[in-house]
Assembly symmetry: C2
Homo-oligomer: 536 residues x 2
């Protein structure tokens, strides 16, 4: 296939004699360049996956260099003069009066279901963004990221924030530089970073959603704090890693995780990565005292994986073969983890299996006991183990801190103490040390500032999608009780997954749910669920 | 470090104004380009390692494309105009009368122990070779190789040579084309392929060593066949994979395999790959009925890994950070596997541990029994499980066949039958099917024609080195009995490993052993060992 696409007759473009090339020829050539770039990106993703899973410890430094080289090459491919010329040529075709309609219909016809117009819009946006970053800067980022992540793993292990601080400082500086390269003003650098993850939302728009949500969630939290806590059924037992793994794999396969196109490994921090159209990988970790910590992370990452695996084959190898946005991506993982994974209906058939694996450890725990246990509202220091209600408050805290870090209103040295103070204020939680405080997340070590808000936006998207799914499928609980997940997968695939990045998030939510994004569905869901559970 | 080397003031070269650059500047620039290329090659090696170990089955096709892109990029880096200009410039410096000595001493002084002259010799050779292969051809090879390897795995599983035949045909065609691109005449294409693995030996030179060796080995084999066979102590027992793995890992760590710089995984065919200076990986497989099949492959691959891990830090990131040749590489693996790994002295301390792992399975087997069992001469169909004596005959068979395949004197369709006939003739062995016949090795599926002879040459190098090592270290058996491997590692590192590719194989063997390569040491070793063992 590679060779065929390479010989579409657009080779003239290489020699800057584009006048004789049809728009279809130019688009084919652009798709080939995009395809090569995607292959380099996926290769870099494998280097990263391997760094988190199997790389020998002394190999970290060289791996950072290898990554820097590949990411530099991918960047060079994207910003090459040829790409710029092809994009300009295609824009000119479309804008010359009288030929626009013709050119575009040409493009659509020749593409076998490939959404050429969406591709050009998205590719142009990526190009415009990338062309502003110098190659040396991109390499520096990749290398610093590798070293910073390695330092973070060490520092977290030793509960030693000071060892990580210079790396964090470096990553903040690079993030600020990045936003500045993109043309954002000094006082709106954070908006520039948010724009990478959720284009429709700047700092102001997010505050407008987060501020009232924070208030409502804190009120609900206070009511719940006044009620008796449900018994923790997992106290004082050891859950063997081998048995956990076997159960996780049974659930994975049960909910439709395809072993021919995906796999699961172990890493310090669970993640999902796409290494090819038929190669999407998740990772997990095992907590000997709580099997559900790992299990819910597995279900969470599966939600991400289902999205990637559900993208239409017509988008394969192209820049469109990714999620619409981080928030939309997170809506899929949190839908599976919480809305499905922590529901009564889901556990009705799975609890008996779970008991078979861990009969001794669970003792006399009955279903209702267990269900309450996996839905306990109990604020704690760790985000990835937080209940559905506290979770958004964890995110709001990170949002508050990272916007100040980027704005230079908070120094890295102050960070651990400010973190602890805010944890106490928002969630009433004391952090014992920095490992369960500011060092718990991988994101900042990777320079991914502006990423955190997507998690909370994901919750909002998820519940708004879920309302529509329920209207379309009728009694979803019955499906879950029968472990029939295919209708749910189909609905999500048809309405969300298959479109990949060809859909703009703000359009997608309106198209699928009939209204723009709001926190309404999410808060109603939380309020109803926990009012019932805690008898409020 | 990357940034520093990137700014050595040789940037003028990029603009084709090299006249003002000193040889040292040019060499630094060349080393930087080499370093980037090595990073791409190591990344491609990771893609391959992953394909053999963890890649989901449906991801194979896309992986082949990814590999093709990375290998194409590495090739482009090597043959870039800038590389050619730098090499010419440096050659000119060295050849202008009066400045040669000066320029070279300049180079050596500025390099912190880096062997600049050797680097230029090797790099020039690689460049000259690579520049003759068109980029599209290199990509086609990489892609065909990925598909061919996948087809081979399938075909071997189904004992279905016909399914693999078109891929083999394709790989032969590509190998012939490759040798032709390098400028070899139609009747010496196989010499061109041999040249990649063992420069000093063409088809004629190899025949001159192999022919008499074949005769002597077959004579010895006949004598042994007339003697009673030792009892096989592994018959009718199942050796659990988990226990095998635990024992393998204990041996690995005991003989000095460094977990911070290396790792072991599972694949269909054991191999060693270098993904970085501190990241050398081996693979193995488990045979439930014979734990020693896997163990000796582990020791074999460790020998390769020790070589790679022993290369001097001054060569790091450069083209010199590889083995001197395939034969020299193989000498290290076969030294560990056979000369050390199948000796009485090695097993004296390890046999008691082995018995602890498998006491039930081994029953009353005593040391002598066991030692005879791991040194049984018993010709069989599988090369990687062959005894030390039969092994070279397996290689000679492959040498005979592949030279004919490349010369077009043998067709792919005839191959399975000719294989079977030759197996009977050389070793007296019947192959039950193609899985234990022509489909057993990975090499041809990768297009690695000309590789096999290195294995037998490796045996010759190994025993010639071993003679010198014994003269230098005195009672080596005593070291082995005390599990003191460090002196052996040191001698090998100092005399062979640390030099990497800076040593030419034909020079290296003379330098280390005082004489050119011959089969003398090898045959004496075989004759003595088995005369004693079989009371001939």
């Amino acid at each position: 296939m590679f060779g065929t696409i390479g010989n579409t007759g657009c080779s003239g473009v290489r020699r800057n004699t584009m006048n004789n090339n049809s728009p279809v020829d130019c688009l084919e050539r652009l798709r080939l360049l995009d395809r090569e770039r995607m292959h380099i990106c996926r290769s870099a993703a494998l280097l990263q996956w391997d760094q988190e899973t199997y790389l020998p410890s002394d190999g970290v430094e060289e791996r950072a260099e290898q990554l820097a080289v590949l990411e530099g090459l991918a960047h060079e491919k994207l910003i090459s003069g040829e790409v710029g010329e092809l994009l300009d040529k295609l824009r000119d075709c479309a804008s010359i009066a009288g030929t626009a309609a013709e050119a575009i219909s040409d493009l659509q016809d020749g593409m076998d279901g490939f959404p050429a117009k969406d591709f050009l819009r998205v590719f142009r946006r990526d190009y415009d963004k990338a062309v502003k970053l110098p190659v040396d800067f991109v390499r520096e980022c990749a290398r610093a990221e590798g070293l910073s992540q390695a330092a973070w793993i060490e520092a977290r292990g030793h509960k030693d924030f000071a060892a990580f601080a210079p790396h964090l400082e470096k990553m903040i500086g690079l993030a600020q530089q990045k936003a500045a390269f993109w043309g954002w003003e000094k006082d709106s650098l954070y908006d520039g970073l948010l724009d990478c993850y959720e284009p429709a939302f700047g700092e102001k728009e997010i505050s407008a959603v987060f501020d009232p949500l924070q208030e409502k969630l804190q009120q609900l939290l206070q009511k719940i704090a006044a009620r008796p806590k449900p018994e923790n059924v997992f106290l004082n037992h050891h859950f063997k890693e081998q048995k956990q793994e076997a159960f996780f794999r049974e659930v994975l396969s049960g909910i439709g995780f395809d072993g021919k196109r995906s796999r699961m490994d172990i890493s310090a921090h669970p993640f999902t990565t796409t290494l090819g159209f038929n190669d999407v990988r998740i990772t997990t970790r095992y907590d000997g005292s709580d099997p559900l910590s790992g299990l819910f992370s597995v279900i969470h990452e599966s939600g991400h994986a289902f999205y990637e695996l559900g993208i239409d084959g017509a988008l394969r190898y192209s820049s469109l073969a990714e999620g619409a946005s981080m928030g939309i991506h997170e809506s899929q993982s949190r839908l599976w983890e919480n809305v499905i994974g922590r529901s009564r209906a889901f556990w009705k058939p799975w609890f008996p299996r779970f008991r078979e694996y861990f009969s001794e450890e669970l003792g006399n725990t009955d279903f209702e006991n267990f269900y309450r246990s996996v839905n306990t509202i109990l604020p704690g220091p760790i985000r990835v183990e937080a209940d559905e209600l506290s979770y958004s408050l964890h995110i709001i805290l990170r949002f508050e801190l990272e916007k100040k870090l980027i704005a230079g209103q908070l120094s890295v040295n102050e960070l651990p103490d400010v973190w602890k103070a805010k944890m106490k204020d928002y969630l009433g939680v004391e952090c014992a040390d920095d490992a369960e405080g500011v060092l718990q997340d991988v994101h900042w070590s990777m320079g991914a500032f502006g990423y955190f808000p997507s998690y909370a936006l994901g919750n909002l998207y998820a519940l708004q999608f879920w309302d529509s799914l329920q209207r379309a499928l009728g009694d979803v609980d019955e499906l879950l009780e029968r472990r029939e997940y295919e209708k749910i997968h189909s609905w999500l695939r048809e309405n969300i997954h298959r479109k990949g990045r060809s859909a703009e998030p703000s359009e997608l939510i309106k198209e699928v749910t009939g209204r723009p994004l709001s926190a309404e569905s999410f808060f109603l869901y939380i309020e109803n669920k926990y009012t019932e559970l805690y008898g409020l």
